[in-house]
Amino acid sequence: MSRPELQQAQAEAPAPLEPASLPAATSLRAAASPPAPLAADKADEADEAHEAHEAVEAVESELRIARLEGRVAALEAALERRSEELRLLQRHLCPLDLAQLARLTAGLPPLPRIACEPGFWRETRELTEAEVPETLDALWSSIHPPGPAGSPARASAAGSGGSAGDARAAAARGVAAP
């Protein structure tokens, strides 16, 4: 699994809730509304209304900033938690499991359970019994990982005749020689 995939997994994590301590904007707006004008000079009234409006806007702006700062702080905290989780996983999971986790959290289907890259190997001297059709299907799928559910498989190489999805279906069946 590549580093960008891990980052994508983090970025697509659900956004944290806003801090509960912030008051709702609508109630603030209501509290800061200017009083109704009395019988007085209309120009003075207009000035006063303008000033009151500016004051309300200033308060609203400060509140928006406070709310955004709160949201940033919450995201930072969530990111810190997530990073800590990932560091923990990285320490204890094998690279293939880590790749699977990242793909799953990113909404991608898992990779086939085959280690065709040395980084994914568990160093062993034991032989594992396997079947050729399933192994090759898994191998090709790991080289051209399936996209999100329903989308056709990616073909990384040029020169492929027909869709990769068709070819994979053919490969799954096995292709009889002419």
Partner: protein, 632 residues
């Protein structure tokens, strides 16, 4: 119709739904005017009424179930005069339109072809039958290829000992010569009996692998297990009395084979193939494990080989004083040979043989090696005994261009390499050359099936040390996977070319298998495989010079092996990748040559020729001794 006149005889007993499916699928094939006779073997369900509504079949109704043999004989008797007959079970399903035309062509492909069967597969796609054989020791018929996944094995025409009569094409001349099925049997063994009778009368039994039918085995007797077993045992007893002596008489030679069978080694794999081929050709082998204490192998070998025939051979009692014994293995176990005539059969990957091997070989009556490369090496190392070439082979029923493939759906050109990680295979040279020659953007990939059983080797570290470029040629690995040998053809067929870069080979079985599958192969131009590799059927890789063989294997000490040229390897990789038509043609030439010259049967025939020569020499010596005694 221009071919022979044919009558299809379908035997049915109850289970109308099976007969109905059989007829429906049959009707969708090309029958070319063949007549269809359904023998209703006394069915008590709706079969008679339903058959009456099928206008294109002729029904022969028997009043009661007369059994498989009499039922089929009734069909044969009802067949159109002078016609060939095809006996068919009603639990068959026809999925191949030209099945009958191909069977008929096979049956008339040679004057002595008499009985023809086809591949039968289970509804789940596994192969059920590709002919039968019977060991006289147990008199229990075995189906060739049974329950293997169907990867296209046995796809050609081959002579077999017998076939099951779920589908049997019988030429009229055979029927005229030996009649119908033997009435000794109610059911079971009548098919093998028929094939043996045909053989006695001079007719061969063939498997037409171009035809595959689906056989829902025992569909019509599936509810009758107890009765079925009773039938089976009864028929087996009759068959044993009738044929056991005849079956045993097919063996013309006896041989003690001391080797290795049930471990995953090259000697074991080739030992298995040679024993099967020798058995087919009438050599009664007795097998004994030659390794054990004071060798690198465990004291005892696993009992089962997973192969009925080999298990029977392994279970045979060893003679006390065998006339001829072959030790097939490393030369330092030749001394364990127990025969009166002793043969040591071995090979090695370097340009000479260790002193201990030569010393033990010099105590043999003769020595066999598979290649001129080894013959030369043995003689130069001081061998003084007669030495003969006995090549190894390839099973072209499982390794041929018609085997199923599982190609890379990305469309990349795939080079395949199979090897055990170690100094001899020089994997670094191959991986670097490929990685340097190609770029990651090119649609080409090297797939390495790698085995590492050496606890001293950390493969990930070894590969990391090669510092392969991320933007270089792409390489994938199948690591420490063990496939059933019969499926390996599908692995080869899923690649476009084969690469075998090694410093030395004692034979190189994977290379031969890949070539038999029609892959263009790049192989080091030095070693035993030069016996079957040349510029007309492969791409020989230039060797710069011979260098001291430095490896963990103690047998190589003091000898030399090849130093393959990395620049030439890069050139060949690129050439095969770009000149695909030429490479394909060379692969096809390789497949033709392997099938024509390098089969296990050919190898077994060489062995038999040697056995006959040894016996003749021994007989000559005995006569000379007798003559001397008489003179004295």
């Amino acid at each position: 119709m221009s071919g022979p006149r044919i009558t299809l005889v379908i035997l049915a007993w109850n289970h109308w739904q099976l007969t109905e499916r059989c007829l429906e699928t049959l009707a969708a094939t090309d029958l070319d005017g063949a007549e269809v006779v359904v023998v209703d073997n006394g069915s008590t369900d709706e079969t008679p009424e339903c058959l009456a509504r099928v206008p294109w079949v002729r029904v022969e109704r028997l009043p009661e179930n007369a059994g498989f043999v009499r039922g089929n004989n009734a069909g044969i008797a009802a067949a159109a005069p002078g016609s060939d007959v095809v006996l068919l079970n009603n639990d068959l399903e026809f999925t191949q339109r030209d099945w009958l035309r191909r069977l008929a062509a096979c049956a008339h492909s040679a004057p002595d072809a008499g009985v023809v069967g086809c591949r039968l597969a289970l509804p789940d796609g596994r192969l059920l039958h590709a002919g039968t054989y019977m060991m006289p020791d147990t008199v229990w018929g075995q189906q060739v290829g049974a329950l293997e996944r169907d990867v296209g094995q046995h796809g050609g025409i081959e002579e077999v000992s017998g076939i099951v009569f779920a589908c049997a094409y019988i030429r009229r001349e055979v029927l005229d010569a030996i009649g119908g099925l033997a009435l000794d049997f109610a059911s079971y063994f009548e098919d093998t009996d028929y094939c043996l009778r045909a053989r006695q009368a001079g007719w061969k039994t063939l498997l037409c692998g171009e035809v595959t039918l689906i056989h829902d085995e025992h569909g019509s007797t599936r509810d009758e297990h107890g009765a079925l077993m009773q039938l089976f045992q009864g028929s087996r007893d009759i068959f044993r009395r009738k044929w056991r002596r005849e079956l045993a008489a097919r063996y013309r030679h006896d041989l003690l084979w001391q080797s290795i069978l049930n471990f995953p080694t090259g000697y074991a794999m080739s030992s298995r193939e040679l024993l099967r081929a020798l058995d087919d050709l009438g050599v009664r082998t007795v097998y004994r494990y030659v390794y054990g204490p004071r060798t690198v192998f465990p004291p005892v070998e696993p009992e089962s080989s997973g192969d009925y025939r080999l298990n029977v051979i392994r279970g045979r009692g060893a003679p006390r004083n065998p006339e001829i014994s072959v030790v097939y293995g490393q030369g330092d176990v030749f001394a364990r040979n127990r025969g009166r005539a002793k043969i040591g059969f071995t090979m090695l990957e370097v340009d000479g043989f260790p002193r201990e091997w030569v010393a033990q070989a010099n105590r043999m009556d003769e020595v066999w090696v598979p290649s001129e490369f080894n013959r030369r090496g043995f003689l130069e190392s001081g061998l003084r005994r007669p030495i003969h070439l006995v090549p190894l082979g390839v099973d072209v029923r499982y390794f041929h261009p018609g085997i199923v493939s599982y190609p890379n759906p990305g469309g990349e050109f795939v080079f395949l390499a199979l090897f055990e990680w170690g100094e001899r295979k020089d994997p670094g040279l191959m991986l670097r050359a490929f990685n340097d020659e190609f770029s990651a953007r090119e649609p080409v990939r090297l797939l390495c099936k790698v085995i590492n059983r050496d606890p001293g080797v950390r493969l990930k570290e070894e590969i990391r040390r090669l510092r392969l470029r991320a933007d270089g040629g792409k390489i994938s690995y199948l690591f420490n996977l063990e496939f059933p040998h019969y499926q390996l053809g599908a692995l080869y067929r899923s690649a476009d070319a084969f690469v075998s870069v090694s410093r030395g080979e004692g034979w190189n079985m994977p290379l031969m298998e890949a070539m038999a599958c029609g892959l263009p192969a790049i192989a080091t131009d030095w070693g035993a495989h030069q016996e079957f590799v040349h510029a007309g059927n492969a791409y020989p890789l230039r060797v710069r010079k011979l260098v001291p063989a430095r490896a963990k294997c103690p047998y190589y000490d003091g000898f030399r092996w090849a130093d393959p040229d990395p620049e030439h390897l890069r050139f060949l990789l690129r050439h095969v990748y770009e000149q695909r038509d030429e490479a394909r043609a060379r692969g096809q030439a390789a497949a033709r040559e392997m099938a024509a010259r390098w089969t296990w049967e050919a190898a077994a025939r060489k062995i038999i020729a040697r056995l006959e020569a040894i016996k003749a020499t021994a007989a000559g010596a005995r006569s000379a001794k007798a003559a001397m005694c008489a003179l004295a």
